[in-house]
């Protein structure tokens, strides 16, 4: 089974992989480093890598200028809110499709997937109009609803692929032992499904956090999440690289860490179970 890999070959692999990895990661690393520089050092030629006067000033300026905390709260509420509602709606649906499949289950699943393919821009104005009519424009409620809807197909699919891996015999055994449907769900199914549900939640928080079509088009100052906060830096203004970096670092740090934990589930979630 085990192939003999020479140390030399392993060293070459390691060096190559680390170089490529660091190259890909470099823009993120550079952003984080720049956020601790002064504006003058941020544009220094040649660029200063590590030996600069580390400062937290940019973070204070960014918070003072645009109330970072409010955008952060909007992002947190929108991402978590839409995910929770999505899970509540999707768990029963995925459960029934996985354990009581009918002839139409496959069609329903594929149809749900097809709603995800709808290009957002194709329905931009109707949603915009409905939001004005219902008073949802620039509100967190409105965004929670929209993001829940666009991610619901992914949630259902991910849960479905996880639930399908739970052996049906165990449920049958529980039923033979006289478990009611309620007990079956609480004591048998939930513990087994929990890891799958957790990964689904994680991936969807990430997707909702980074969504940048609806959040840019349906919000203004009040309900804007971090995507909109960053977009406000799109017009250049004197020296602002360090401030932009600080704002960017604050916007991506929480989700970057969550993302590192969920990389395995990412594949399953984003390929709709086609690659596992």
């Amino acid at each position: 089974m085990a192939r003999n890999i020479t140390t030399r070959r392993k060293t070459i692999n390691t060096t190559a992989a680390w170089m490529v990895g660091l190259l890909i990661f470099f823009p993120i690393l550079w952003t984080i480093l720049t956020s601790f520089k002064t504006e003058a050092q941020a544009i220094n030629d040649p660029p200063i890598f590590l030996f600069f006067d580390w400062t937290l000033e940019n973070y204070a300026v960014v918070q003072g200028r645009s109330d970072y905390m409010r955008y952060l709260m909007n992002s947190v509420i929108i991402a978590i809110g839409s995910t929770i509602i999505g899970i509540v709606i999707a768990v029963p649906a995925a459960w029934s499709m996985a354990f009581v499949p009918s002839k139409r289950t496959k069609d329903i699943l594929l149809w749900m997937l097809s709603t995800k393919m709808l290009p957002a821009v194709g329905v931009l104005y109707p949603i915009y109009l409905l939001f004005i009519q219902l008073g949802l424009l620039d509100s967190r409620t409105g965004l929670v609803i929209i993001l829940m809807l666009i991610n619901l197909p992914i949630i259902v699919w991910m849960l479905y692929t996880y639930f399908r891996e739970i052996p049906g015999e165990i449920l049958e055994a529980a039923r033979m032992d006289g478990a009611t449907l309620r007990n079956e769900i609480i004591y048998v199914l939930t513990p087994m499904a929990l890891p799958g549900i957790a990964s689904t939640i994680l991936l969807n928080i990430i997707l909702a956090w980074n969504e940048a079509f609806w959040t840019l088009n349906l919000t203004a100052a009040k309900a804007g999440p971090l995507t909109a906060f960053i977009a406000s830096y799109s017009s250049p203004e004197g020296l602002f690289f360090a401030k932009l970096s600080a704002a960017s670092t604050m916007a991506i740090a929480p989700i970057l860490i969550l993302g590192w934990f969920s990389q395995k589930q990412l594949v399953r979630g984003l390929t709709f179970g086609a690659v596992k």
């Binding site: 192939r3 692999n13 390691t14 992989a17 680390w18 990895g21 890909i24 990661f25 823009p27 550079w30 952003t31 720049t34 030629d45 660029p47 709606i89 999707a90 029963p92 496959k106 329903i108 699943l109 594929l110 749900m112 097809s114 709603t115 393919m117 290009p119 821009v121 194709g122 931009l124 104005y125 109707p126 109009l129 409905l130 619901l152 197909p153 990430i206 980074n210 840019l216 088009n217 971090l226 960053i230 977009a231 830096y233 799109s234 690289f241 932009l244 970096s245 960017s248 991506i252 969550l258 993302g259 590192w260 990389q263 990412l266 594949v267 984003l270 709709f272 086609a274 690659v275 596992k276």
Partner: protein, 292 residues
């Protein structure tokens, strides 16, 4: 196993998801379809309440006839095609590299996957300013260091720049999926080929690549659907200038910036049709997987 009772319970449990998605699909879609046959200029006082004039297919022909339509289709195809070529080829190479035994594999994986978690507005702005700024960007410093003239990235090489930014965002996705596919390959098969004296390139071409073909197809289809509707990357970098106006961006401008809802809706219907053509292929692959 399923009794009549559990069947109706199952239907009940499915109902909320189905109803919610049905509404999400039907209501806005039929509104877009409705608007696309109407003259609807909210800024000139048109409103649904006052009734809109029926104009037949005028919006559809005008959208296609406008001077920005074909350039936008071209821009869309170049961006989608360019990003696909770059991410799939580099993704395969990177997946092969990451599959090799090495020290610190977990950390390298994290480094490679990270760009995917950066929100589109951040990655576009970081690239636009800190890397592609013609005076203070890292690339300008680098060019000057080698004695070359710095490039005005987003105006002179706008398409290349956008393709670069978007490829950086999507390369992790392609790599991760292709790596997953490689890792599911039976290593004994490879060893047998190795023992029979098949050279590395042949092993790649005849064993690894065919094994990855389905994952490659999935990557291409899913990325195409997402890439057809990239928005934020263009919104914060060029705002559609310098030939980077994609179909999505053109529709956005028609609908929200110039508030020609009828015209934009007709464009939206075109975009929906385009996305559906791609979606059909993806659904076929996913559907096949469901049967097994």
């Amino acid at each position: 196993m399923a009794t009549q009772h559990s069947r109706s319970a199952a239907r009940l449990m499915m109902a909320p998801a189905v109803i919610v998605l049905l509404g999400w699909m039907l209501v806005p879609l039929s509104m877009t379809l409705f608007f696309s046959f109407k003259k609807y200029l909210p800024l000139r006082g048109d409103s649904v309440a006052n009734g809109l004039d029926w104009v037949g297919f005028a919006n559809y022909t005008r959208f296609v006839g406008s001077s920005s339509f074909w350039p936008s289709v071209q821009a869309t195809l170049i961006i989608v095609g360019g990003v696909l070529v770059i991410t799939v080829i580099l993704g395969i190479l990177l997946a092969l590299l990451l599959d090799q035994p090495m020290w610190g594999q977990g950390i390298v994986r994290i480094l490679v996957i990270s760009p995917f978690f950066v929100m589109p507005t951040v990655s576009a702005l970081v690239w636009k300013n800190m890397f592609m700024d013609p005076v203070n960007g890292i690339l300008a410093h680098l060019f000057k260091f080698f004695g070359a003239e710095p490039v005005q990235w987003l105006s002179q090489a706008s398409m290349e720049s956008i393709i670069m930014i978007v490829s950086w965002q999507w390369l992790p996705f392609a790599t991760l999926i292709l790596l997953t596919a490689i890792q599911s390959l039976d290593s004994e098969q490879l060893e047998a080929a190795e023992m029979d004296g098949a050279p590395t390139l042949k092993r790649f071409w005849f064993i690894i690549l065919p094994h990855m073909s389905r994952a490659i197809t999935v990557v291409i289809l899913i990325q195409t659907i997402f890439l057809l509707s990239i928005f934020a990357e263009i919104f914060v970098t060029t705002a559609g200038a310098f030939g980077t106006k994609t179909l999505t961006y053109l529709i956005f401008q028609r609908v929200l910036e110039s508030q020609n809802v009828g015209l934009g809706s007709a464009g939206g219907v075109y975009a929906i049709i385009l996305a559906n053509i791609v979606a059909i292929f993806l659904m076929r692959i996913v559907g096949k997987n469901l049967d097994t």
